[in-house]
C-alpha cells in the first residue's frame, strides 16, 4: 500500500493535550486569532463556509465559544479528522505538520476544558426496563425453570433498538401490549413453577414402527413392525418423525429419559451430491425437537419447536441413543434429519429424469407424459391410452386447484411410496423408541422451593413468603410499603374465597408484573451497591445478580478495593457469561440480523445443507470468547492467526479434513482471507441481504462498528440505483456516480472503499474471485480502494493492514460500544474524555480484551447512573 499525504501521530496529540491544559485565556485567544482562524480560512472554509457546506458542515460561523454544545461537536469532529489525516481531502492543499499539530493541540486543550465544564449536565441512563432476553433469563433463574420449553414472551412486541442495541433505557417502551404480555407470561411461569401435590408416577412408553402414518409421502422402504425412515431435512415440509400414540404429548412436565434405536442408511449414495445435497463425507445426524400439538401438526415445523438433543448416527449397525430431556406437559419429542435432503420435490424430479431405470414403476403408474416428471420424449407415449389414464387420475384426485401460475402435481399416497422404493439416497432408519418419566431433581421441585422457601403455603405466612420472594425478585430488600400492597392483594383474594395457595400465586404474579421487577432500580448520582450489583450482572450475565453478589451488596462490600475486580473476573469465568458473548456480539456486530433475510435455497444451498446459519454465529462467539478469556489484545479482532470452524464452515472456507458438527480451533496464518472479524461468515452475511452484496452497506457496517464514525443518512430525494444484472457492468461501475457527482463523493469516499475491500466475499461469506453470472464466471472482482487519508490497498489482506494503523480509532469504537451496552444508554459527547482515558490506560497495559471489560466496570460512567 502507498500513502500520499502527511498525518499526525497520536503521540503528538497526547503531548498537545498535556501542554495546553491550564493555559491562560489570553494566550488561548491569541492562538485562536493568530493560528487557528487563519488555518480554517486557508484549508477549510472554501468547502465548509458561506458558499458551500459540504457534509452539512459550516465552519466560518463557528467562533471559539466552547460553551455551546453544538460547537463542541463540530470542533471534536475537526480535530478527529485532522488527526486521521482524512481532512483536508487528498487532492487539496495540505497544511505543514507544524501548523496541523498547533491547531490540533489548541482544539484538544479547549475541548478538555469544555467537557469538564459540561460534565455536570451529562446524560444519565433513563429508567431501563428488562428487554425480552433479560426478562426470560431472569424469570427462569428466579423460578429455577431454565429448561422450560414454552416461551410466553414469543408474543411480546419486539424490543426497540437504537444503534443496534436493544437494551437502551430511553428507547425501550412499555406499551399496553407489552404489559398484557407480562400479565400472561407471569401467569404461565407461576403455573409451571407451582406444581405440587403428589409426585407423579414414572411411566414407561414403548413405541414400535410405524411411529406415525406418513400420509401421502409414505416411504416405500418402510417395514411395518420393524422400522420406519426419516428421509428429508428438518426444514422441508413434513420432515418430522413424530409419535402418533403420544399425540397429546406427555401428561406431566418433567425430565424424561428418551431413547431410540437407529442406523444411518446409504450415507454414501449413488447420486451426485449436487442433486441430493447431503454430504457423503459428513456423518448423518438426528436432532430431537420437542413440539406441541397445540401449535400445529407435529409432522411440520411449528412455532413451539425446541431442540432438546442432537446425535451423530452410526452407519454400520443399529445403535441405541439416549438423553435425559425436559418436556413440558403437552409436548412430545420428535426426530428429524437436519442434514438430510432438502426440497424433495425437485429432488424427485431430478432423480426420475436422470435415473429412469431405477424408477420404472413410478414412471409408468404415476407420471403423465408432458408433465415435468415424465423423463421420456412425449412421442414415445401411446397417445390414446395415456389420454384415458390422464382423465382417470384427474377425477380420482378430485378438483385440481387452479390459480394463476400453479402447476398440477399428483401426490397420491402410493405414488410417493413407489418413488421411494426405487430411491437409494440417505436415510435414517428408526427401529424403536422409548420414553420414561417424569423425573424431578427434588420433590417439591426446585421451582416450588424458589417461591415458597421452607414455608407452608398458608395465609398466615403470606408476609414472610412474599417478603422473601419479592426481595429476591426486586434484587434488593423490598420496602415495607410495597410489601403491604402485595400482602393486601393476597389477603383480599383469600377473603373472597380463594385458597391460600391460589391467593399466594396471585401475589407472585403481581411481583413479576411490578415495576420494581421490570425496571432496573438506579437513582441519580453514584449507584448504590445493589444497583451496582444489578448493573454488573446484567452486563456480564444478562440476568439477575446471584447470592454472592447480593450478599456483598448487603454488607456494603462491593465497592471496596479489589472486590469489584475480583467479582468481574469470577463472573467472566461463570457459565452465565455465555450471555455476554452471545448478546454483545449479536448487537455490536449486527449478528441479530442473520436469519431475517435468508439466502436463496438454490443459489446458496450449502447455507442450509451445512447448517451455516447456526455455525457462523458460533464461530464468532467462540472467537470472541477466545479473545476475552485469554485477555488477548483487541487488535485480534482486526486480524488474527486463528479462527474456529466446524465441518460446514471448513467447507465454506476451503479448509480440508475437518468434518462433523464440533468446533475446533484452526490456524489461518497462511490465509489472509480468514482471520479476524472481516474473514468471518457471520459478519459478511449480516452485512448483506441474502441475495447480493452492496459495498455501500458493508462500508457503512465497517464505519459504524469498527471505526465508530457512522455516516450521515442519504439525502431523501436521491433516486436509488436499480441493479441491472444483464449487462457486464459490475456494482463498482454502477457506483461510479458516487465518484463523479461531487455531492455524492463527499460521503461515499469514506464509505465505498471499505465495502470494495470486502467484495470478494459473497452474501454468505464464501470467497469468490468473479461475480456470479448464470452458467459462467462473471467479471473479475476488483477489491482495491483508497482510504480518505490516501492509504491505498489491493484486496482484503492489505485492507486489514491499513486498518491496523487505525487501531486507536477501533479501540475507541469498541470501548464506546462496550460502555453503551454495559450502562444501557447511548454515549454523549461529554463521555469522550472518559472514553479517551480508558483507551489510553488500555494501550499502556497491552490492549487486553478482559482488561477493557475491567476498565469499563471500574469507570465512573459505569458506576454512576
Amino acid at each position: 500500500m502507498s500513502r500520499k499525504s502527511k498525518w499526525v501521530s497520536p503521540g503528538a496529540v497526547l503531548l498537545g493535550l498535556l501542554a495546553t491544559t491550564g493555559s491562560a485565556v489570553g494566550l488561548s485567544e491569541n492562538l485562536y486569532h493568530e493560528t487557528v482562524q487563519p488555518f480554517l480560512e486557508t484549508y477549510c472554509i472554501q468547502c465548509h463556509g458561506p458558499e458551500k457546506q459540504k457534509a452539512d458542515r459550516r465552519y466560518d460561523t463557528l467562533g471559539n465559544d466552547f460553551l455551546d454544545r453544538d460547537s463542541i461537536g463540530l470542533w471534536q469532529d475537526i480535530v478527529d479528522l485532522l488527526n486521521l489525516g482524512d481532512m483536508p481531502p487528498e487532492d487539496e492543499d495540505q497544511p505543514s505538520s507544524e501548523d496541523r499539530i498547533a491547531v490540533v493541540d489548541w482544539i484538544s486543550g479547549e475541548l478538555t476544558e469544555a467537557y469538564a465544564h459540561h460534565k455536570s449536565n451529562n446524560q444519565n441512563t433513563v429508567l431501563r426496563r428488562l428487554n425480552r432476553a433479560e426478562y426470560n433469563r431472569t424469570v427462569r433463574d428466579l423460578l429455577e425453570l431454565q429448561s422450560l420449553l414454552v416461551d410466553p414472551t414469543e408474543s411480546f412486541p419486539p424490543d426497540e433498538t437504537v444503534e443496534n442495541f436493544n437494551n437502551i433505557g430511553s428507547a425501550l417502551i412499555t406499551s399496553d401490549f407489552l404489559l398484557q404480555g407480562y400479565l400472561d407470561a407471569a401467569e404461565t411461569y407461576i403455573d409451571h413453577a407451582t406444581k405440587h401435590g403428589k409426585q407423579p408416577a414414572v411411566q414407561t412408553n414403548h413405541f414400535a414402527a410405524p411411529f406415525y402414518k406418513a400420509r401421502n409421502r409414505r416411504d416405500g422402504k418402510d417395514v411395518a413392525g420393524e422400522y420406519q425412515h426419516i428421509r428429508k431435512n428438518t426444514t422441508d415440509q413434513d420432515g418430522f418423525m413424530w409419535l402418533e400414540k403420544l399425540e397429546e404429548g406427555v401428561p406431566e412436565s418433567g425430565y424424561y429419559t428418551f431413547k431410540f434405536k437407529a442406523q444411518a442408511i446409504d450415507r454414501v449414495y449413488p447420486y451426485p451430491e449436487s442433486i441430493v445435497g447431503t454430504r457423503k463425507d459428513e456423518p448423518l445426524r438426528v436432532d430431537v425437537i420437542a413440539g406441541s400439538r397445540e401449535y400445529g401438526e407435529l409432522e411440520f415445523r411449528t412455532a413451539s419447536d425446541k431442540k432438546v438433543a442432537g446425535f451423530i448416527v452410526a452407519d454400520n449397525q443399529p445403535e441405541w441413543y439416549e438423553k435425559r430431556i425436559w418436556l413440558d406437559k403437552g409436548y412430545q419429542p420428535r426426530l428429524t434429519f437436519p442434514n438430510g435432503p432438502n426440497r424433495v420435490k425437485p429432488l424427485r424430479k431430478s432423480l426420475v429424469r436422470n435415473y429412469p431405470d431405477d424408477f420404472q414403476d413410478f414412471i409408468h403408474n404415476w407420471t403423465i407424459p408432458g408433465d415435468g416428471l415424465y423423463p421420456y420424449p412425449i412421442e414415445e407415449a401411446l397417445t390414446r391410452q395415456i389420454e384415458a389414464e390422464d382423465k382417470k387420475i384427474a377425477t380420482e384426485v378430485g378438483r385440481v386447484l387452479s390459480t394463476d401460475g400453479t402447476s398440477r402435481k399428483f401426490n397420491k399416497t402410493d405414488g410417493w411410496a413407489s418413488f421411494y422404493r426405487g430411491y437409494n439416497g440417505p436415510r435414517i432408519r428408526v427401529f424403536e423408541v422409548e420414553l420414561e418419566g417424569p423425573f424431578y431433581e427434588s420433590w417439591p421441585t426446585p421451582s416450588y422451593q424458589a417461591l415458597f422457601g421452607n414455608y407452608q403455603p398458608t395465609i398466615e405466612n403470606a408476609e414472610r413468603i412474599l417478603r422473601r420472594f419479592a426481595s429476591k425478585a426486586f434484587r434488593r430488600p423490598v420496602q415495607q410499603e410495597n410489601l403491604d400492597i402485595l400482602v393486601q392483594l393476597a389477603q383480599s383474594k383469600f377473603n373472597a374465597g380463594a385458597t391460600a395457595f391460589e391467593a399466594l400465586k396471585i401475589g407472585f404474579r403481581a411481583v413479576l408484573c411490578s415495576p420494581d421487577f421490570l425496571y432496573l432500580q438506579e437513582r441519580e448520582g453514584r449507584l448504590d451497591d445493589y444497583a451496582l450489583a444489578t448493573r454488573l450482572s446484567y452486563f456480564l450475565w444478562s440476568t439477575q445478580p446471584d447470592q454472592e453478589l447480593l450478599d456483598l451488596a448487603a454488607n456494603g462490600k462491593l465497592t471496596q478495593a479489589g472486590v469489584l475486580e475480583a467479582q468481574t473476573k469470577r463472573m467472566l469465568k461463570d457459565d452465565r457469561a455465555r450471555a455476554f458473548t452471545e448478546e454483545f456480539t449479536a448487537r455490536w456486530l449486527e449478528l441479530y440480523k442473520i436469519g431475517t433475510m435468508p439466502p436463496s435455497n438454490k443459489d446458496f444451498k450449502t447455507y442450509y445443507v451445512d447448517g451455516l446459519e447456526h455455525s457462523m454465529k458460533k464461530e464468532t462467539q467462540h472467537f470472541f470468547d477466545y479473545v476475552l478469556k485469554n485477555n488477548l489484545p483487541v487488535s485480534e479482532f482486526l486480524d488474527s492467526d486463528v479462527t474456529f470452524v466446524d465441518g460446514g464452515l471448513a467447507r465454506l472456507y476451503g479448509m480440508k479434513g475437518i468434518n462433523g458438527p464440533n468446533f475446533q480451533k484452526v490456524s489461518v496464518k497462511s490465509d489472509p482471507r480468514r482471520g479476524g472479524l472481516f474473514g468471518q461468515a457471520s459478519i459478511l452475511t449480516a452485512s448483506a441481504n441474502g441475495i447480493d452484496t452492496s459495498p455501500v452497506i458493508r462500508g457503512i457496517w465497517v464505519l459504524e462498528n469498527i471505526l465508530g464514525k457512522p455516516p450521515s443518512p442519504p439525502p431523501p430525494d436521491v433516486e436509488p440505483l436499480e441493479p441491472d444484472v444483464r449487462g457486464a457492468t459490475t456494482i463498482r461501475d454502477q457506483l461510479d456516480k458516487h465518484r463523479k457527482v461531487e455531492t455524492c463523493y463527499e460521503c461515499h469516499r469514506t464509505i465505498d472503499p471499505l465495502g470494495f475491500a470486502l467484495e470478494n466475499y459473497d452474501p454468505i461469506g464464501g470467497w469468490r474471485d468473479h461475480y456470479p453470472r448464470r452458467g459462467e464466471d462473471g467479471p473479475l472482482i476488483d477489491a482495491s480502494g483508497e482510504l480518505p487519508n490516501g492509504t491505498e490497498f489491493q484486496g482484503v489482506g492489505e485492507f486489514k493492514e491499513a486498518l491496523s494503523e487505525r487501531l486507536n480509532q477501533f479501540t475507541t469504537c469498541l470501548t464506546e460500544k462496550l460502555l453503551a451496552y454495559s450502562m444501557g444508554r447511548t454515549l454523549e459527547f461529554t463521555d469522550r474524555p472518559e472514553v479517551n482515558g480508558i483507551v489510553q490506560e488500555l494501550k499502556a497495559s497491552g490492549l487486553g480484551m478482559q482488561d477493557l471489560v475491567l476498565l469499563v466496570v471500574q469507570s465512573e460512567a459505569f458506576q454512576t447512573k
Partner: protein
C-alpha cells in the same frame, strides 16, 4: 454515537386524554346493548368498513401502471385478474409518502411516517386503519383485525398497522385462530374462567399501579416520564378489560363454515379472505388489514426460489416472470374477495361492497431498486366513483401526498378530520358516487 436523541414518548401524557374521547362517546347505551343487525341499522344506512391490503415488496411498476389516464386506460398484466371489476376500482399513479429507505421504509405504507420519526408527529405514526379502529371503539367486538398469512421476521415482515403509541399491532397468522376468535362460542365454564381471569388481572393491575406510584415519588423527572409509559399502559389495559367484559356475555354470530385447518399459503389466503368477509358481514369488525409477508412459500405457486429473491430480478426475464406469478396471485385473490363482498346484501339494500373501502398497495414502489416513490395503489368500493386511472403530478412542487387518500378514506369512514398525518387534505379527483 454522539447524536442526542429526543425522548420519543414525551407526547404520551396527552394521548391518555385524547384516546378517551372516542371510546367514551361510543360507550353510550345504544352501542353496547345491541349486537348484530339491530345496532347496524339504527344508524343511517349500514356502517362503512375499511380493508387495507399490503405487501413489503411492491407490485412491478412496468406491469402494474397503465399507460393511458382516465376512463379508457388499457388494462395491464397485473390488473388483468381484476379486469371484471374495472368500473368499481380506481388505480392511482405517482402517489407516495416522500420518504426513502427501501425495506426500512416499507412499514410506513399506511401511516406515511417512519417508526423512528414518530415522536415528531402529534399522532405518532398511527396507520389509517388504526385511526379508523379508534373511531369504532367498542361498537364491534373487535375494533380491528390485523392479519398476515404466515410468519416473518425483520424487513420481510409486513408491518402494516401501527397504534398512536408507536406499537406495531401483532397480526393473527393462523386462519384457525381467527375463526375461533370470531365464531366459536366459549362454553359457560370457559366464560366463567375468563371472567375470573379478568377479575384477577384487574386486582393485579391495581396492586402494581400502587407500587408504581410509590416508585414514581423516588424518581427524577426524566425517569418519571418513562414510568408514565407503564402507568398509561395500566390504564389502557383496564379500559380494554372493561370492554372485553362487556363482550364476554354477548353471543358470537353463527356462520355456516367449517373451522379452517393448517395449510399452505394458497390455502390460507382464501381462508383469511372468507373469514374477513364473514367478519364484516356479521359486524364483528369494521376495520381490517391484511399483510402478505415477504417469506411466503412460493412452492405453493409452482415456483422455486424465495419471494424476496424474485423481487431482486435485476431485469432477468425468468425472475420477472416468477415475480409476476406471485403478484398476480395476490391481485386475483383480492378480486375474489371483491366478488364475495358484492354477493352480500346489507339490511338496507346495498351490497357490502358499496359499504367497504378496499385499499391494496405497498410501501415499496419498486422492489428491485428499493425505491419508495410512486407506490402502487388500487382503491375499490366504498361508494366512490371509480373506473379510472388517476394520474397525479410528478413535478416535485406539485406532488400529492398519499396521506391525502387516507384523509378521504377517513372522512368517508365517518371521522371529522381535515387531513391525516402528512397529508394536506383530501385527495383531489376522488369523489363519492
Amino acid at each position: 454515537m454522539h447524536t442526542k436523541r429526543i425522548n420519543r414518548r414525551t407526547f404520551l401524557k396527552s394521548t391518555g386524554v385524547a384516546m378517551a374521547l372516542p371510546f367514551l362517546e361510543s360507550m353510550g347505551p345504544m352501542s353496547l346493548k345491541a349486537v348484530g343487525a339491530s345496532a347496524k341499522t339504527s344508524a343511517v344506512g349500514s356502517p362503512m368498513r375499511m380493508v387495507c391490503i399490503g405487501n413489503p415488496l411492491g407490485l412491478m411498476p412496468d406491469s402494474f401502471f397503465p399507460k393511458g389516464a382516465g376512463k379508457d386506460y388499457e388494462i395491464t398484466e397485473l390488473l388483468q385478474p381484476i379486469a371484471r371489476h374495472r368500473n368499481d376500482f380506481s388505480v392511482m399513479s405517482n402517489l407516495d409518502h416522500d420518504i426513502s429507505g427501501g425495506h426500512s421504509a416499507v412499514h410506513a405504507f399506511l401511516s406515511g411516517i417512519k417508526d423512528q420519526d414518530a415522536s415528531d408527529w402529534p399522532e405518532g405514526n398511527i396507520s389509517v386503519d388504526q385511526r379508523a379502529a379508534e373511531f369504532v371503539g367498542a361498537r364491534t367486538r373487535f375494533s380491528s383485525l390485523v392479519l398476515s398469512p404466515g410468519k416473518a421476521d425483520g424487513d420481510l415482515k409486513c408491518k402494516l398497522s401501527w397504534t398512536r403509541n408507536g406499537v406495531n399491532v401483532p397480526p393473527v397468522t393462523r386462519a384457525r385462530d381467527l375463526f375461533r376468535a370470531l365464531f366459536v362460542q366459549d362454553d359457560p365454564a370457559l366464560l366463567a374462567k375468563r371472567q375470573s381471569a379478568y377479575d384477577v388481572n384487574e386486582s393485579i393491575l391495581d396492586a402494581v399501579n400502587s407500587q408504581a406510584k410509590i416508585l414514581s415519588q423516588q424518581l427524577g423527572k426524566t425517569d418519571q416520564e418513562k414510568l408514565d409509559e407503564y402507568l398509561n399502559s395500566v390504564r389502557e389495559i383496564e379500559k380494554k378489560l372493561g370492554m372485553s367484559r362487556e363482550w364476554l356475555h354477548k353471543p358470537k354470530p353463527v356462520v355456516d363454515l367449517e373451522e379452517p385447518r393448517e395449510g399452505s399459503f394458497t390455502y390460507t389466503v382464501p381462508a383469511f379472505y372468507e373469514l374477513l368477509a364473514l367478519a364484516l358481514e356479521t359486524d364483528s369488525t369494521r376495520v381490517a388489514s391484511l399483510g402478505i409477508p415477504g417469506t411466503i412459500d412460493t412452492a405453493d405457486l409452482g415456483l422455486s426460489g424465495g419471494y424476496h429473491g424474485f423481487s431482486h430480478h435485476g431485469k432477468a426475464e425468468k425472475l420477472r416472470q416468477g415475480l409476476l406469478i406471485i403478484e398476480k396471485y395476490q391481485v386475483s385473490q383480492m378480486g375474489r374477495f371483491l366478488d364475495r363482498l358484492k354477493s352480500i346484501q346489507e339490511p338496507d339494500g346495498q351490497t357490502l361492497f358499496d359499504r367497504t373501502m378496499v385499499l391494496m398497495g405497498s410501501g415499496m414502489g419498486n422492489g428491485s431498486s428499493h425505491s419508495n416513490m410512486k407506490l402502487p395503489i388500487i382503491l375499490a368500493g366504498g361508494g366512490f366513483k371509480h373506473g379510472e386511472h388517476k394520474v397525479y403530478p410528478t413535478e416535485s412542487h406539485k406532488r400529492v401526498p398519499l396521506c391525502n387518500l387516507y384523509g378521504s378514506m377517513l372522512q368517508r369512514f365517518g371521522l371529522e378530520v381535515d387531513q391525516f398525518n402528512k397529508g394536506s387534505g383530501t385527495l383531489t379527483g376522488l369523489e363519492v358516487a
